[in-house]
Symmetry: D3
Amino acid sequence: MNNYQPPSASGSPRFCNMGRFMRLPEAKNAEGLDFAILGIPFDTAASFRPGARFGPNGIRNISAMIKPNNVTMGVNIMEELKGADLGDVDVIPDYIHETYSAIEEKLTEVLNAGAVPISLGGDHAVTLGELRAIYKKYGKVALVHFDSHLDLCDTVFGQKYNHGTPFRRALEERLIDPSCSIQMGMRGSLYDPDDFKIAADLGFKVIPGDELHKITPEELGEIIKERVGDMKVFLTFDIDFADPAYAPGTGTPEVGGFTSFEVLQYIRNIKDLSFAGFDIVEVAPPYDHSEITAYLAANIAFEFMSILAYQKKKNK
Amino acid sequence: MNNYQPPSASGSPRFCNMGRFMRLPEAKNAEGLDFAILGIPFDTAASFRPGARFGPNGIRNISAMIKPNNVTMGVNIMEELKGADLGDVDVIPDYIHETYSAIEEKLTEVLNAGAVPISLGGDHAVTLGELRAIYKKYGKVALVHFDSHLDLCDTVFGQKYNHGTPFRRALEERLIDPSCSIQMGMRGSLYDPDDFKIAADLGFKVIPGDELHKITPEELGEIIKERVGDMKVFLTFDIDFADPAYAPGTGTPEVGGFTSFEVLQYIRNIKDLSFAGFDIVEVAPPYDHSEITAYLAANIAFEFMSILAYQKKKNK
Amino acid sequence: MNNYQPPSASGSPRFCNMGRFMRLPEAKNAEGLDFAILGIPFDTAASFRPGARFGPNGIRNISAMIKPNNVTMGVNIMEELKGADLGDVDVIPDYIHETYSAIEEKLTEVLNAGAVPISLGGDHAVTLGELRAIYKKYGKVALVHFDSHLDLCDTVFGQKYNHGTPFRRALEERLIDPSCSIQMGMRGSLYDPDDFKIAADLGFKVIPGDELHKITPEELGEIIKERVGDMKVFLTFDIDFADPAYAPGTGTPEVGGFTSFEVLQYIRNIKDLSFAGFDIVEVAPPYDHSEITAYLAANIAFEFMSILAYQKKKNK
Amino acid sequence: MNNYQPPSASGSPRFCNMGRFMRLPEAKNAEGLDFAILGIPFDTAASFRPGARFGPNGIRNISAMIKPNNVTMGVNIMEELKGADLGDVDVIPDYIHETYSAIEEKLTEVLNAGAVPISLGGDHAVTLGELRAIYKKYGKVALVHFDSHLDLCDTVFGQKYNHGTPFRRALEERLIDPSCSIQMGMRGSLYDPDDFKIAADLGFKVIPGDELHKITPEELGEIIKERVGDMKVFLTFDIDFADPAYAPGTGTPEVGGFTSFEVLQYIRNIKDLSFAGFDIVEVAPPYDHSEITAYLAANIAFEFMSILAYQKKKNK
Amino acid sequence: MNNYQPPSASGSPRFCNMGRFMRLPEAKNAEGLDFAILGIPFDTAASFRPGARFGPNGIRNISAMIKPNNVTMGVNIMEELKGADLGDVDVIPDYIHETYSAIEEKLTEVLNAGAVPISLGGDHAVTLGELRAIYKKYGKVALVHFDSHLDLCDTVFGQKYNHGTPFRRALEERLIDPSCSIQMGMRGSLYDPDDFKIAADLGFKVIPGDELHKITPEELGEIIKERVGDMKVFLTFDIDFADPAYAPGTGTPEVGGFTSFEVLQYIRNIKDLSFAGFDIVEVAPPYDHSEITAYLAANIAFEFMSILAYQKKKNK
Amino acid sequence: MNNYQPPSASGSPRFCNMGRFMRLPEAKNAEGLDFAILGIPFDTAASFRPGARFGPNGIRNISAMIKPNNVTMGVNIMEELKGADLGDVDVIPDYIHETYSAIEEKLTEVLNAGAVPISLGGDHAVTLGELRAIYKKYGKVALVHFDSHLDLCDTVFGQKYNHGTPFRRALEERLIDPSCSIQMGMRGSLYDPDDFKIAADLGFKVIPGDELHKITPEELGEIIKERVGDMKVFLTFDIDFADPAYAPGTGTPEVGGFTSFEVLQYIRNIKDLSFAGFDIVEVAPPYDHSEITAYLAANIAFEFMSILAYQKKKNK
């Protein structure tokens, strides 16, 4: 057992002291940690419904319901790992480049301390800032990307930086290696009929939602593993990958999506990849109800933490 | 490219000028159009929760999120088709017969102009008014009906005209041919144990929800095609066909329903029928949350428009 | 036909006189009844979100939408059965032992009158009070338990009586026979990694959610039947068995759950067991929206009533 | 003390058995009663937002919070008066004339039994049906009318019967005497600039909202008393008299309105009039939040009941 | 009568065709108009809750309830004035300078056509763009500013352009004359204790909320008139001037505010000023309920339109 | 300036790191502090709507909007005072006596460290636990009590400890001196007609809501000062003192209440009393909307903190 345990619910009900992820201890920096929770409350780049700036707070509040044991994975994350909540990156609403600098700086600190960053968005634009820090630490990484949108636009509203463009920019900045990367769950109406082709031309593998509905989580796990190989992976999860019935609280929901159980299974089937970092983005609490979206997001982060614990336990 | 394009989201964010379906141009009449959007904001005939009078407004507002390309169908509806939003039929709350006249008149104009009417309800009673206009143009049509209810009651509350009776009336008025018609998704508790038998006795084919859950969308497509044959089809979609998790914003929701992905697939599998018209009914925004019901309804209309585009493209 | 019919919706719209379950007649006691509806509006024992005290009211209000025929089961519950709504047990908020006495007393009356109690919770702690009455009437019974949690904790917050402990207490009080009992749907993060093992050690059979997702409703029916054998059964259904998308209005929702259609099928596949009583618990209306949770709960109760009707009809 | 006491909250928490107004006993008819609660769940005639059909249920549910003593009035209504909840009039949605007959019949029964009817709407159209019954019992009465609208239109949507026309019809049917009647609180934008003049020409006294804001509740009491004289009075209260901040849950809210405290004071200052009946209308629960509108409505009914108790006590 | 009438509610219920302010006709430009409605759906500059981008849509939808006669003012705005809805300015989320250009260009067109611009925000940052256009037409104007905040910060988040800085920038750009300007209603906790002094030093007159509560609307009218003199006036109204009870749907609500009736009175008492333009800002529909905030905002715009009509009628 | 400053909003937007009151630093204990924020998330004792357990979290989240300067008081609380957020008392739901012990222990620590406790409820039962600690430190204190209820019942539901009984118990335990105490704002229907008399007989001074509406805040200040004299004061504020329009998010709202501006004024007029402690109770977030109730509560706490700052500044 380590010193980074949240309070026992037996002594402290879960609705006490809800301000941090899973009621983890707060920490000023990531020294000595296996993972670090970071909020990135930036939603300036949202193209439709804003509100993801309250995502980190929303996810943290309801994450009080999560307990440390992941039985499916066979691990207690709090026993295997040292983790803490480092609070939020001080973003600057309306000023995306200054915000990118703040994100990059904070993640760099975390990565240099040897911890895995687990970021809570914010809109999907924030991932570009994260990838810049990841790149400085690891060089190019593989992107494993769950989403209903490709986020590969060249411009949105005639502008280069937006929550629809981060991976186009990441590619141009050579932060990710498309030949090892995969995007899954894309669906819905599109501006450009060639979106999937464009992604392919850029070097990505895309499994559209329609196709993903036809394969099993195990099969998906194999496909991802083969694609990624030994590359270091950044896992980015846009909550709108899930169907609006399961995740109404988001900026650009898309029908025809996935259930919460499918979401859990997909993540559990990539438990052997080597992860550089993770984010869960686009949770917009003003559009959530009864916190079901935030709770799904919190569980996705928990599953990712469980993978880290599983790998640490296995390597003992 | 034609003159009926909505503004480009690149120049005009999707939350600008949201008042019309997919931000299509407004038109006074249907001359020269392939399809015409009509709102029918009538909910007087609702037997439980009213509110569908705000359905057209609710669907139009969130439809701003829909983009012109349907990749699954392989079409850009705005390039293939000329369409416009003709606004709402001026219904008269509390006066159903006067409202039926207004609906019939408006649809007749649209049909005579050679456009396919795409109507946004309103409760399901409005379909009777639409079918009267359809009949004047095409004679008897086949009804393809997705719903959790048969809507074949003789009377509700002891009265003949209500959202539970339109297809009984349509049959009596000989507007539809039951031998080519099909009703799908019916479920839930019933007043009359013989409802399905009554439907059969009236000549309809019914696939109750329980059975529909057992067959694939492709199989359903075959069944419908066989039933309908070469008849002109009116497609009527009651949003309560979907499960309340996916469509809470409706007047008489029913558990045990269908997912948004199933809904999309069912429609895509009837893309070769010959359609006289379409409506999506029973969206009640006061009971919706985060507009997930209205957005599903907007996508159903979009899939129907995609079928029209697919057929036009194929026939070039 | 009997005297316990609700008003016909033909003469009295379903939104008239909504205060009782399915608008059944009110009764002071259960004499002459086949089943008796009881509300148990106690939520003091909730460990996270309270609000289940308004569960009985919420379920009753929306139950007005349910009609008497269950076509899948082939029965009209109102023709086969005499039932009435006996109102609520007068619970004492904050005083769990006094409340247990009140529950036990009321259920004992119902059972002694020969009626099957159908209870609307309330949090899951109330089931212990019910089981005490059931035991006095039938001796040990088999527990058939749908839930996302085992509710087998020894203590919660260091205390013995809580909505997380009822079945541990029931076991200690020898009210149920674990060797004939089964718990299904458990999932989510846990405090104790050995929870499922503990349940097994206590003698229960547990089918965790992950496993349940892999078998059919028919297979589940067989497993339950085999487990239960000829024992008298108490069926307890925690609404959080369903996924939060289907049942957001509850105190401790858990992702990765089941659809409303699966819920209906599971119940229909145990229609040949011999039931001593039933409850549906943990509906928390302050967290519901558009009453979808309450309506699912009402339908679960309706399916249980349909089983009673089916058995009575079969045994005629 | 009489037999018509609601359960003591000491023995039965107020959230138990919430289905009737103030948890009063249910009664089949008004024999022996001083007052009778009636729901009239009709909202077909609403010109903007429907939903008032759920008004009686909404008001009844939250009325559980009201206790029997009105300290300001110095009375315990349950000790002075015998009252019961007679349930809802079986209205027929979409069929206003049939509904008027049902209302008239039910109120006639109540009036003939010697009880004062206290009706919970429903939209304001229902008052016409009530006034027809009142007229049969008492002849013409004085109307004391709190509202943000005059409801004196000749037609709405070109039709005679609607929630904007009841008092024009009542005047034409000679059910009320305008020379003893008064309308208060009218405000907001108007279709006809001469609305207030029309009301005056028809013989009514109108105190627009702007003027009412300038006088005290005591002064208003004097003005009403002088206007009404010894006439039998029907008090009709449209909840939209209150400002939307206090009563958001209504069909046609109007800014610039009155506070809940002003509402209570206005009613308390007419405690010496001779009342034939009362209704509170236009509560639309789908637009309410946290039941504040329904609770204000329940309190308005309670203040009216307190007047009845005060008069009975005084006359002992 | 002119050609710019909205449809009569008698022929077209108010819930039909809700997409434009008061259901006015749409126009491409302001030629021949007395006033032009413009939406400015920009909320990138919000410092706390975003969502005001949906303000124009929200205000337009509920404005359908407003009728053309203002009885207090004695005018029918539709008879006195020609007005139309010009739709939204095509803002660029996240790009404030590009958005300012778009706003300035659109307002310049309107002003050059001789119409008064009536703008629906959007957050308060948009007013700077409007004032730039106003200045090009009229030179420096007097600012009459209702708000709970001064919006005179030099920087927010270390940046110059934000919804907390527009009037500091306007002053620096010499768009407004502080010596004729007045700011009213400011209240709440502050970052800088000298905020009111700073405003005074910059030349503004400030009436904090605490003081405003002590004077009558008539007195306020006199104070404003004296301050403004003969200057052309831009009236900017931040909806958070009203108390959160009356206007919950806003980004930075402040307790201790004003009622809807006070708001109406304040505006009616400045009906003799000479107005260059008007905006109502900071309506955030995701935080509104039952549209009470949007409806108050729509009424504020209506009162402003009534002033224009009153002045035109007077000058005939 | 001291070390207990929250982060500057200029460097850290207010929606970053929202978990603590006004984003104050966290502290393990109260050593060296002027005041200490404590959450007491207990709502087991609520007699109607529970949910106040989420009150501390709800108040903390929205308190991020509060800034350090109170201009009306002329103080910057962060410059005058050292304060920190000590987190929540670890309550035990369902176990009121154990919870009282936990409250008493925690407050005793705070008081012994020389800090003023500022507690965020929780239901009103928690105040008894606080008063026990206060008594141990100061002996009997004067109670200054804003509320719509007296909370002086002997029993509720036949039980001694509940949110309706704390001040009866406090009196019996001789924790408060009724002859120096005052209760204000009581209103609404009552179980016992003699409630006000009982309070008087017990020695309290009561100013019912009806009377309070007739006097000015300044007059109230004088009355309180006279009543309290030099006694040490405990200020307890039940949010339901405010009208439901201003504070919908509470367990037992009462119409006829007070505005947010009145609330602020009442507190500002007692700025010269000598305070031993303070609590704000009964905020129930599940019933709040747009956080207006929680924000009012946060401002009430802020006004209290401003009094402490004002007194410290004055005494320098």
